[in-house]
């Protein structure tokens, strides 16, 4: 192992190299760009033995890596924001084809107006496509999770594509020390590529023509849901094995911080879960409040069981969303509430919409929100408002 200072984007590129990816196709978009540049450099210098297809759009990037994966090799792409939206149609096609494939998404807001800072609108717009979606908190987790995704997506119990996300700039361009595993360790962790079928000349298989019975078409969707369910176990196993090999376990679908005796909970995902940890420490150490953090590491498959387990006896829950579905609420809130309701958990849950368009949220802001929320629930036994917009500050 080597300790190196890496940005989140370089951590992704390093993981791609270690995974021995054979085809890379990408189209540059801020702030994903340095992933593309690094990979192009690695291919050019021979550090990475792969074909680089320098496509003319994100749509073609996803199409090209899909073609490569269907041809039997490990492939990778990365994008962000509008680029991800431009890929949308292909994302459904890849997942419906049950083709293992890994992509990094540097989460960035959607225009108008133009804006390059982080929020989760881009990735949340892809939640129904059938991809595994994981959020990371720091560059180490980004590197580790990218590698794990290759193993998880190529597991025959899953055979679905996966996305590792990292927040724009906060992670993509911020340097942190990252433990880089040896190639031999990665090779031991990551078996040769497996996939459900490979396109070859002389083998007349057909993918995607119309089915004789529409029920088969519906069953394709049902089977993807079942694979997502099975993926929960596969994700846990990958985390266990990675922990054994490297000493680093990030948790399976969720990571609970100071949850054991917690009465009030923060639920969040992505880079700001680091700030949420600070807020939890502050609220506990300074105010003696029993606050815990549930960091949602995988949004797909959604960790319903974990949330039910942790929030069963919660006095209050505040879900921070970095994106919103106009006409409803934040997606993490919607799914948290739905999971809890499905098993009869009646804890008060509030949605704080914050950090959209890159509006900064400091640990102190999170602490203030929590102080007010705890006070409100202790006084009223419930939240006055289900959803609040919070711009930081007082």
């Amino acid at each position: 192992m080597v300790l190196k200072t890496l940005t989140g984007n370089y951590a992704v590129a390093t993981a791609v190299k270690l995974a021995r990816v054979k085809v890379v196709a990408t189209y540059p978009i801020t702030p994903q760009t340095t992933i593309v540049e690094k990979l192009a450099e690695m291919v050019e210098t021979g550090e990475l033995d792969a074909e680089m297809i320098r496509v003319e759009s994100e749509y073609s990037a996803m199409a090209a890596v899909y073609g490569a994966a269907s041809g039997g090799v490990r492939a990778f792409t990365a994008t962000s924001s509008h680029g991800l939206l431009y890929m949308h149609e292909m994302l459904w096609w890849v997942a419906g084809s049950r083709m293992p494939l890994v992509m990094a998404v540097v989460t960035r807001s959607i225009g108008p107006p133009w804006n390059i800072w982080t929020d989760h609108s881009d990735i949340m717009g892809q939640r129904d496509a059938g991809w595994l979606i994981t959020f990371s908190e720091n560059s180490q987790e980004t590197l580790d999770e990218t590698l794990k995704l290759f193993r998880i997506t190529e597991d025959e119990r899953v055979y679905l594509p996966g996305i590792v996300t990292l927040d724009a700039f906060i992670m993509s361009h911020t340097s942190e020390p990252v433990d880089i595993p040896d190639q031999s360790l990665v090779d031991a962790f990551l078996p040769p590529r497996k996939q459900p079928y490979v396109f070859k000349a002389g083998d007349p298989i057909v993918m995607g023509n119309m089915p004789r019975d529409l029920k088969w078409n519906m069953m394709v969707r049902e089977d993807m849901c079942r694979a997502m369910e099975r993926a929960k176990r596969v994700i846990e196993e990958a985390d266990e094995l990675w922990g054994k090999l490297t000493g680093r376990k990030h948790g399976g679908l969720t990571d609970c911080y100071r949850c054991e005796d917690a009465k009030h909970f923060i639920v969040g995902m992505g880079a700001w879960t680091g700030d949420m940890r600070d807020a939890v420490d502050h609220l506990r150490d300074r105010f003696g409040l029993k606050v815990g953090l549930i960091k949602v590491r995988y949004f797909r498959p959604f960790p319903s069981e974990d949330l039910i387990k942790w929030l069963n006896n919660a006095m209050s829950v505040v879900v921070f969303d970095r994106s919103v579905s106009p006409g409803a609420e934040g997606p993490l809130y919607i799914e948290t509430v739905s999971s809890l309701a499905s098993s009869g958990v009646r804890s008060p849950v509030k949605n704080v919409l914050a950090g959209l368009a890159g509006v900064d949220l400091a640990p102190a802001d999170i602490s203030n929100v929590m102080l007010a929320s705890v006070e409100e629930v202790e006084e009223l036994g419930a939240f006055k408002q289900r959803v609040t917009w919070f711009y930081g500050g007082e």
Partner: protein
């Protein structure tokens, strides 16, 4: 090497159970692809008539490996697939088989990008001159004056000259072909398969349903397109353009049949006025003249 029909492989690539309309030119084209390249082919097929023609899963009416893909994506998927086959050291000819929509319109950026990168694939544009699969709507390949369900008074614009646009990409091989001239098409396919890089073949494919003629006349109409000079068979290797033998007689304008003969066989041109006819005739001359300048 000259090809004779009796030497072509007997293996069938279009099987009973396909769901093409009677007189469909796409099935003819696919048969010729099989005869030319046989088991070396992997087809990448975007949305279009051939999505339907191949028949219903879990069966297939086509004896090729087929990766069906979204409308605008075929060349990029084919490029990735071709890269994978190269990496794995497998012998394969990856063919993007797309209609005029998937090639000239919605798929055009993808096509142009792939051509510019010189990806090692063959793109065949199966041109039936409108969006036939959705029920005969106009495309950029619909000719001037033609009726479609979105140009009920006849199309006001002329056909975009896609083969020449592809020629200007300076790719190693560009050719036009017609379903009425299988030997010419097969020769071009075989030549294309020996060239590394991006190969473009534009296959003129008269559609009985969309062009409003009896399905027994698919070949007749396709032949007339060549004999009237409306469709010119040519090929270009490394930007050297040559008119193909079947079109060569029509270099001489006096040898060409009247354009009206071609138009009058098709219901879609029923309401073409004399003025529009004159303009179509002028465009035929102009197309020849442009091509001959490039061939010189």
């Amino acid at each position: 090497m000259p090809i004779s029909i009796k030497d072509l492989p007997k293996e069938k690539y279009v099987l009973p159970g396909d769901t093409a309309c009677p007189g469909c030119p796409e099935n003819m084209g696919l048969r010729f692809v099989g005869m030319a390249l046989g088991g070396k082919v992997i087809l990448v097929i975007p949305a279009g008539c051939t999505s339907i023609i191949q028949g219903l899963a879990p069966g297939s009416g086509l004896n090729f490996p087929i990766l069906n893909v979204p409308f605008a994506s075929s060349d990029a998927v084919a490029a990735g697939l071709s890269a994978a086959k190269k990496i794995l050291g497998e012998d394969a000819v990856v063919v993007a088989w797309a209609g005029d929509g998937g090639t000239a319109d919605i798929g055009f950026a993808t096509l142009s990008g792939s051509a510019e990168r010189n990806d090692n694939i063959i793109h065949i544009c199966v041109d039936n001159e409108a969006y036939m699969n959705t029920g005969i709507q106009r495309s950029s390949q619909t000719p001037l004056g033609a009726w479609t369900t979105t140009t009920v008074g006849g199309k006001k614009e002329r056909k975009k000259d896609l083969p020449l646009i592809m020629l200007m990409h300076r790719i190693p091989y560009v050719a036009t072909a017609s379903v009425a001239y299988p030997i010419d098409f097969i020769e071009k396919l075989r030549k294309a398969s020996t060239i590394r890089g991006f190969k473009y073949i534009h296959l003129h494919s008269p559609c009985p349903v969309g062009w409003r003629f009896d399905p027994m006349y698919t070949v007749t109409v396709a032949k007339l397109a060549v004999e009237t000079g409306m469709w010119i068979l040519f090929e270009s290797e490394d930007s050297k353009v040559s008119i193909s033998p079947s079109s060569r007689p029509y270099l001489d304008k006096s040898k060409r049949k009247p354009v009206k003969e071609y138009l009058s066989m098709q219901g879609r041109f029923r309401n073409v006025t004399d003025e529009v006819l004159k303009e179509i005739e002028r465009q035929v001359d102009e197309n020849w003249s442009t091509l001959l300048k490039l061939a010189a």
